[in-house]
Subunit: 80 residues, 2 copies
């Protein structure tokens, strides 16, 4: 199964990379950009074939390694 | 509207970050991790309210700034 993990900074945590992207987009002439947040995206191919177990395994991976849960939050999607 | 952009290395481009994550997960005792790819995730809040225009604008942003289209591919989701 393939899991897709999105890791973003929690609301209220400053995101200088996102700010830099927003400014660069403005300089390139893109209008109406109100906010940008940059995070990480991780795709994991798992041998596990049970959907529920795969999700639980990936949530463990996030909590233990992939995300810094003090500053970051994560969301996991699992598909066939 | 909020756009969510996932940027990943194209297939065939080496991904040492992903390899490092896969190895670290193995050392932590996670079994059955077949492959890991790391990419970027960007959320953009747009003033644009037209779904089609918002998507076109964000695809332009990807091509011009956010992704290195030689090595990376991107996917864009737009929601209300």
């Amino acid at each position: 199964m393939r899991a897709r993990v999105r890791i973003t900074l929690k609301d209220g945590i400053l995101d200088p990379q996102g700010k830099a992207i927003a400014q660069a987009l403005g300089r390139l002439g893109f209008e109406g950009v109100e906010a940008v947040r940059q995070g990480k995206y991780i795709e994991i191919e798992l041998a596990e074939t049970n959907h529920v177990k795969a999700r639980a395994q990936v949530e463990d991976m996030c909590a233990q390694l992939l995300a810094n849960t003090v500053m970051e939050e994560y969301s996991v999607e699992v598909d066939g």
